[in-house]
């Protein structure tokens, strides 16, 4: 069983981004969670960041600390509705009978 602090622990499973990659990016560039996301792709995978967004935010906050000057894009990772994924076929009026799965 690996330590929970292990640098190789995967934070974003969709894009397979490790704790180490996020910490290194955050400390090297002293940047916001949003910039870490854009640099590493953490939170940009299939699940839309629903699983790791809070973790990425927290790790970046812990690593970078409070900046002297607020970063221009220092808001948390953005997310947009819908909260649940909706397929185009559902939007197009597919019924549960047609959907089956």
């Amino acid at each position: 069983m690996r330590n929970m602090d292990s640098p190789s622990m995967i934070i974003c499973r969709c894009e397979e981004i490790t704790l180490q990659e996020i910490v290194e990016t955050a400390s090297r560039f002293r940047c916001s969670a949003r910039e870490v996301k854009l640099r590493t792709r953490a939170g940009m995978g299939f699940c839309g960041g629903r699983t790791c967004r809070m973790l990425v935010d927290a790790i970046v906050r812990q690593t970078a600390g409070e900046p002297a000057e607020p970063l221009p894009d220092a808001f948390s990772l953005t997310y947009r509705p819908p909260v649940r994924p909706v397929s185009f076929s559902e939007l197009g009026g597919e019924t549960p009978d047609e959907r089956q799965n």
Binding site: R13, P85, N101
Partner: protein, 111 residues
């Protein structure tokens, strides 16, 4: 192999259910009506539901509530169906996701 809790100390024995045959990656498995794909496969000892598209590392049940999409499989030709939410049906054909070719990445698999 039966990985089910047949006799729960509080809930009692499992009620009798209809047995269903379904396919996962060309192998036939038995499950029970009402079970999800993920549950039926887990009961059959199958934990890897797909491979990561880029790295090929195995993926299975993670959140099991339809949130994380780690268990997405192809069901009857339809991609990205969550195995943890989808009940099995008789004759259902399920395919796992596999590592994809990356011909434009240095060291990536060719097509």
């Amino acid at each position: 192999m039966n990985g089910r809790i047949d006799r729960h100390p509080i809930l009692g024995p499992l009620p009798p259910r209809k047995q269903i045959r379904f396919q996962f990656d060309d192998r036939t498995y038995l499950g029970y009506e009402g079970e999800t794909i993920a549950a039926a496969l887990l009961a059959n000892g199958v934990r890897a539901l797909r491979r990561h598209e880029a790295s090929g590392t195995p993926r299975g049940i993670y959140c099991n509530i339809g949130h994380c999409f780690e268990c997405r499989v192809t069901v009857d030709g339809k991609d990205n169906i969550r195995a943890c939410l989808t009940p099995i049906r008789d004759g259902m054909v399920v395919r796992s996701g596999r590592k994809l070719p990356a011909p434009f990445v240095v060291g990536g698999d060719s097509l």
